[in-house]
């Protein structure tokens, strides 16, 4: 289980969080069809490091971007999603 450092609440148990999707799967509203299909339906899915969108659903409710390793589960960094960090 992960110990996720929420940007607002500090270290919290993973049970309070929900995984949403990977950062590269966010589609601009004016995306071309092939671009939208690629973002919606395909994933890099690396056996290694990727950036993901999580939400502190059962806590403060905020969204965040987490960069972590999918084999060791080590979290590299967590950033709050806001104007500065739009994935």
């Amino acid at each position: 289980m992960l110990l996720i450092p929420c940007p607002h609440c500090g270290d919290r148990a993973q049970a309070e969080f929900a995984y949403e999707r990977t950062a590269d799967s966010v589609v601009p509203l004016d995306a071309a069809p092939d671009q939208a299909v690629a973002a919606l339906f395909t994933r890099t899915n690396p056996r290694g490091i990727d950036e993901e969108i999580w939400r502190h659903t059962y806590g403060c409710g905020s969204w965040m971007l987490i960069r972590r390793d999918r084999v060791s589960h080590a979290i590299e960094w967590v950033k709050p999603i806001g104007p500065a960090v739009l994935p």
Partner: protein, 418 residues
Amino acid sequence: MAKYSALSLLRGAFNGQSHWQPAWRHPDPKASYDVVIIGGGGHGLATAHYLAKNHGITNVAVLEKGYIGSGNTGRNTTIVRSNYRLEPLSRFYEFSLKLWEQLSDELNYNVMFSPRGALTLGHSDGDMIRLAEKGDAMAVQGIDAELLTRDQVMKIEPCLDFSHDARFPIEGGMIQWRGGTARHDAVAWGFARSADSQGVDIIQQCEVTSMVVDAGRVVGVETSRGRINAGMVAICAAGHSGHVAAMAGLKLPVESQTLQAMVTEGVKPMVNTVVMTQSLHCYISQSDKGGIVFGGDPDNWPSYAQRGHAVTMELAVQQGLALIPALSRLRMLRTWAGVTDMSFDGSPIIGSTPVDGLWIDGGWCYGGFKATPGSGYLFADTLANQRPHEIIAPFSLDRFERGSPVDENGTGPFPNHR
């Protein structure tokens, strides 16, 4: 290959059972094969077996990073059934179930297929309507399905909590009597032994590190044991499908997540069928050794670590205990996890890829074990004829861009919402 039989056992009794031979060879890889299969699990070995048996293609190598059956083939809950509502899925899984029924004979290897019944419980009027609808859809396909009343369920599984204050009251159920369980390791070993005896090279401790692409066509693989040229390359890598496909520059519609299972200490027979439910995501069966085997949701977040997290495990156990309170006194012996390639509609991905010479059999989510013989049979047919077999045609890689997913759960295009 020496045939296993009662007679050979008896004959062996007179010479100290010294007649036993290794069930498969450990060959060094050749420089080139007609077909290279990446992944020595049930699906890869079954594909090799049917390529040799049905199509006479025996210049085949199965490359396995660890030892055969060490991935999801050895990590599932061994359930075999074909009770699906959508026609492409029920048609495929029924094809597979029919192969299961005669698999021990076909392989001359006891896979211990035990059709003890796959029971789905209904906990509300809504559940019973869904079950009746699914049962009707199955019956139309010629698949056995029987809708059960509460009293009938009580006769089949008396250990369930039928009290009036049960957390999940049982209103009835639906059973597929031909469903059941099988011995998962024996499936890998049986297919391996049969494929090997027909000339297929099973190469263990051989990790594929990259693909050799020439003018847009895959012509071989680089491995930890050197380069191997191939007429065709077939990916049967389950949770690592995406990882392997990326070596050829492909992005697949899958996300790899952890799926857990667990088993208790052995007890006398108490769970007679495979118990599943329409509302919960918990499935319970009793192994031949007597252990109660639990399975639940995937962990619902991406991971390649073959270990699960406690939240999901607790949820599965809570649901199991609510259904069968007597289990609360049992000790949990082991828990384990496999990496599943969760696709975006919960259905598999079989067939060609945009890269010439590269074929895929993956995206099995948590339905891969019961598909093993069917997938091997149809994928071998697909490889031999260089076109998707009609039963697996709905599961093509390009179905998402064409807008025709096969979404059994109706939960939309999110692998973590399955």
